[in-house]
Symmetry: C2
Subunit: 245 residues, 2 copies
Amino acid sequence: MTYCVAILLPEGLVLASDTRTNAGVDQVAVFPKMHVFEVPGERVITLLTSGNLAITQSVVNRLREAVRTGADKTLETAASMFEAATLVGDEIRAAFERDASHLKNQNSEFSANILLSGQIKGEAPRLFHIYSAGNFIESSDETPYFQIGETKYGKPIIDRVVNHKSDMMDAVKCVLISFDSTIRSNLSVAAPIDLMLYHTDSFNADSRQRITEKDEYYTTIRQGWSDGLKKVFSALPNPTWTFDK
Amino acid sequence: MTYCVAILLPEGLVLASDTRTNAGVDQVAVFPKMHVFEVPGERVITLLTSGNLAITQSVVNRLREAVRTGADKTLETAASMFEAATLVGDEIRAAFERDASHLKNQNSEFSANILLSGQIKGEAPRLFHIYSAGNFIESSDETPYFQIGETKYGKPIIDRVVNHKSDMMDAVKCVLISFDSTIRSNLSVAAPIDLMLYHTDSFNADSRQRITEKDEYYTTIRQGWSDGLKKVFSALPNPTWTFDK
């Protein structure tokens, strides 16, 4: 499985992805699911991927090949993030044409979900969720974040503390707690976590961090959250209904 | 959808189920998913049900019919909870034989998950999870609780605070928080919540409560939990990594 989150805030983007892949419980590996396209000073575009690894890797590779060979339209030349999302969606559709019937022969499903986000000079930062069908939706003030992969365990905490005006460091804290809840509950999601902050109008992709399980700050957050929850829980009153014994 | 939880503790059982059913978003209704079989002073057996409502209702109805008509083996005569679980599993299998092909004709899946728990004189209280295939597993010290339906949103809090020696009232608090997290995230799970406490060796099923959204204690718990989480969150330190800007 996979867990990726992307949050769009006034200060910029908070992006995170786990690195575990598995093809059955007996085939577990570490692969990055965060892919960055950068033209320093002009654009930063990041893809977070989930689904069939062969499909998402082929999509990312072909997007890179297009840049390398100077194709007509690429993530480095797209005029807007909307155009970039369309390119990625088209690449997913091309992968479907190429692979879907062969996957079906092996009883494998065609699945690829991608969170595309970033900023191209002339636009504000934007965030899109691109589906296996190649179509996509964009985030909004009411829904400033997207998740893909194993989304449920880590959703309640984001819903409770993040909104479209949240402080960026609060969002980082929240994302790490969200990952902790997910990793505790689903063995197929695991650290290291790739974290990227994109600061609005910076047009550089340097704020990246690979967070291992032993990372000091991650450990502090996990422990502090766990202890804090238990304290809040203990302080809640017992039921006041009368129960027969 | 549905959300049901059952926890087995030294003091007894904590059982809870939501009451929302839906056949599409345009057909939402309230149905109880908690079904109690009681022989006062001798046994209490409770079923929490999820899946296709027509299937689970037919299973429960046939189990009741068996009691009414004095059938050979019933939930009121089963010698052990294991035998009771076998009876329920057999009833699910009979429903499959009767209904599955007809459901398939309508592109409907055969699905029925049941949490069976209770106590029969001569045994300690026991808890089983019975699957659509009619087979089942029993809880253990390491896994003293089962969930069915929309399980993920509400799982992290149970994993953090409940174990097989937990205090019963702590488990009640925890279950209500777990329901709150689920109800906030999934529209197809909703109050009122049916809550039942079974006290070990009481052999009566009187400790039941229907909890509406406006229930004073439920409101206190939800508010206290939400406020507490936010406080814990705010108190956590910001990241210590250096990020480029």
